[in-house]
Amino acid sequence: MNATARRGSGWTPWLYLAPALVVLAGLLVYPLYQLGLISFLEYTQAQVSGGEPTTFKGLGNYATLFGDPQFWQVLLATVVFAAACVLATLSLGCALAVLLTRIRAVPRLALMMAALGAWATPAITGSTVWVFLFDPDFGPVNKLLGLGDHSWTYGRYSAFALVLLEVVWCSFPFVMVTVYAGIRAIPAEVLEAASLDGASRWRIWRSVMAPMLRPILVVVTIQSVIWDFKIFTQIYVMTNGGGIAGQNLVLNVYAYQKAFASSQYSLGSAIGVVMLLILLSVTLVHLRLLRRQGEEL
């Protein structure tokens, strides 16, 4: 860093940072603190509207939560579902990114545009459209496959599968575009040299491309994990608030239902804290990976 940039710093950077810090402190850090606080209180509608005093419950909410078999079931469903989504999104996104490098401009543009369309589609409209496609009465999919009025949202697994399709549809473009940009950034000479040396395509991928793409792959993986773990809209809209008898609940929807439908705000907050801790550990993994790459910030 040279002298001019440092000239007269002192308070200036803090002045520039002030609005951002104020906003983040008020709307991110303070709510985080409140989330933790509420999870230790007895806080239902009666306390909220002043019918009864708020009392401290210690770990009571967590005890209730961990003693509820439904919570473990939802947690398991969330983890498995998110893992399936991440896996499907990444493999499709990477495969298509590689495909993009092998084709001429026109088909590439077509695939890019289609993917951007899916990417840009709001989660809620994407959900409505996919539900419609698979609607038992009027959807084209059942008619095409001759399934009569088979309902896709009735069975637990077929409902999750339907949501997974929508999630993959709207999130693979991010992976595809990013990885494609990463591949394009690899100098062509390197690849040509490798192929002149007689390396197989798999070898080239393993030993040349994969290591160079690693940082990008780490970022898209972590992002996908975070997005898919906290999914809300798709499940809420496509399975009508968590499916028949709550069979398609994931943590985020479960927390919402507990807090805003049953007004057990403290239980909902406890679920939120659990979610937060899980995602925080994912973030720590991310930071460690960054560190291993020796990234300079």
């Binding site: 309902s151 239902q257 910030l297």
Partner: protein, 437 residues
């Protein structure tokens, strides 16, 4: 500087800050102050009423009542909003949370009375109700539905009781007669479905709690038992389980396919019947207008829902809606005036004519029955003894956390058997009753 050290510092800082925050006290979110600050004699009164399956006739009656009210209160404006019944719990709770956006008056189901009072949302109107001449004729059961702990929290709007709607043309075609026992009801439903596969025999819904309750009661079951002011769930008792079995046996390809019907609620079954997609449905007096407006007008009749033994009437759920003033209303006097207008004898009479809502005044109901023969099966059902939901504040929570729909859906979808599902439901109910005590 190595990155590892840089990470450790802020992360630890974050965690420490969090911990410090948690141990500090006194920063709990405030509770909303729902007590009204003033009683303005002019301004806009906001009212939330439920949106019915066929809402237009209701809207007309309400508009007339509002006009009459405004003729007497020139300075007052009235803004009516019709809200969907399915999401009412969230919306009304939100209103309790945010007095600023809250309406002055709400329509609410009588099962919610205790819960809303406990939440501190409804205003005590005992004095106004006692001083109101028309209220003297209120049916005692209806008055009970607005009373909590001896205080009155609103005025009854109508009595809701459900009976069996059936398609006269379909029955004639197939040579059927209205079922007189529960067993016959089930066989009749299956016969219809067999002959007309595009129709549900009896439209049922996994989320249609109030359509399912008569099956539990008819078999001698109960939702909960009270002793000394505390409630204990009885949903897992053998008798109740028998009723659950009877109701859930109606889900399946031979009557109402689970894939469709497990999700349906009361309004959905009425919609299905009104649009000609069901041979029978369990509908209320309040569903009358919707069915009349549908494709089946003139092709249906109503009988009481049969009980277990031939000739018996299954105990119906004593439903009904009330109109209450919110505690947070800053126009209390005006709001009480409008409440009286909306629930007065004249409006109830008109609502009956337009919608089929059974009046809550004994005298008005009698004249209504004479005028309109269609209410006869409903009045018969009432007379045979209708049952109410447990009058515990816990009930609102049981209702809004979908304990019973979840139970029915679990059985219907085959995920649990009746014993397991009802056992789990009983546990959840007891938790709610316990918390509400």
């Amino acid at each position: 500087m190595k990155l590892s050290a840089r990470i450790a510092v802020p992360t630890a800082g974050f965690v420490l800050a969090g911990l410090a925050g948690l141990t500090a006290t006194g920063c709990a979110p405030q509770t909303s102050d729902n007590s009204a600050k003033k009683d303005e004699k002019s301004g806009t009164l906001r009212v939330w009423l439920f949106r019915e399956v066929s809402n237009e006739p209701k809207q007309k009656v309400v508009d007339r009542a509002v006009d009459a009210f405004r003729a007497r209160h020139q300075d007052a404006d009235v803004e009516i909003e019709y809200i969907p019944v399915e999401t009412r719990a969230q919306k009304i709770k939100a209103a309790f949370n945010d007095p600023k956006s809250a309406p002055d008056l709400i329509e609410y189901g009588n099962t919610d009375t205790a819960g809303y009072v406990k939440d501190g949302g409804l205003a005590d109107v005992t004095a106004d109700f006692e001083a109101w001449a028309e209220a003297k004729d209120t049916d005692p059961a209806a008055k009970q539905s607005v009373t909590v702990g001896g205080k009155v929290y609103g005025a009854p709007l109508f009595v809701g009781v459900r009976a069996l709607y059936y398609r006269t043309d379909v029955f004639k075609d197939l040579g059927l007669r209205p079922p007189t026992s529960q067993a016959e009801l089930v066989t009749t439903a299956k016969k219809i479905r067999k002959a007309k596969p595009a129709m549900y025999g009896l439209a049922v819904g996994g989320a249609y709690t109030y359509g399912a309750l008569p099956f539990i009661w008819a078999n001698g079951g109960e939702l909960a038992e009270e002793s000394g002011g505390t409630y204990t769930s009885a949903i897992a008792s053998p008798a109740a389980q028998k009723g659950i079995k009877a109701y859930t046996s109606l889900f399946g390809p031979d009557n109402c396919p689970a894939a469709k019907c497990a999700e349906m609620g009361g309004n959905d079954t009425v919609t299905a019947f009104a649009s000609g997609r069901a041979g029978m449905a369990i509908g209320g007096d309040f569903s009358h207008a919707a069915v009349e407006a549908g494709k089946v007008k003139g092709k249906y009749a109503v009988v009481p829902l049969p009980g277990v033994r031939a000739g018996e009437i299954a105990p119906a759920f004593a439903g009904g809606n009330n109109i209450g003033v919110l505690k947070s209303s800053s126009h209390r006097t005006l709001a009480v005036g409008l409440m009286k207008q909306l629930t007065g004898k004249k409006t109830q009479e008109e609502l009956f004519d337009a919608m089929g809502f059974l009046p809550t005044y004994t005298d008005v109901r009698e004249t209504a029955a004479k005028k309109q023969p269609f209410v006869e099966p409903f009045i018969k059902t009432l007379a045979a003894g209708a049952k109410a939901a447990p009058a515990s504040p816990g009930w609102a929570q049981i209702d809004s956390s979908l304990v019973l729909p979840t139970m029915f859906q679990e059985v219907v979808s085959g995920r649990k058997d009746v014993a397991a599902a009802s056992g789990d439901a009983a546990k959840k109910m007891n938790d709610a009753f316990g918390a509400a005590r």
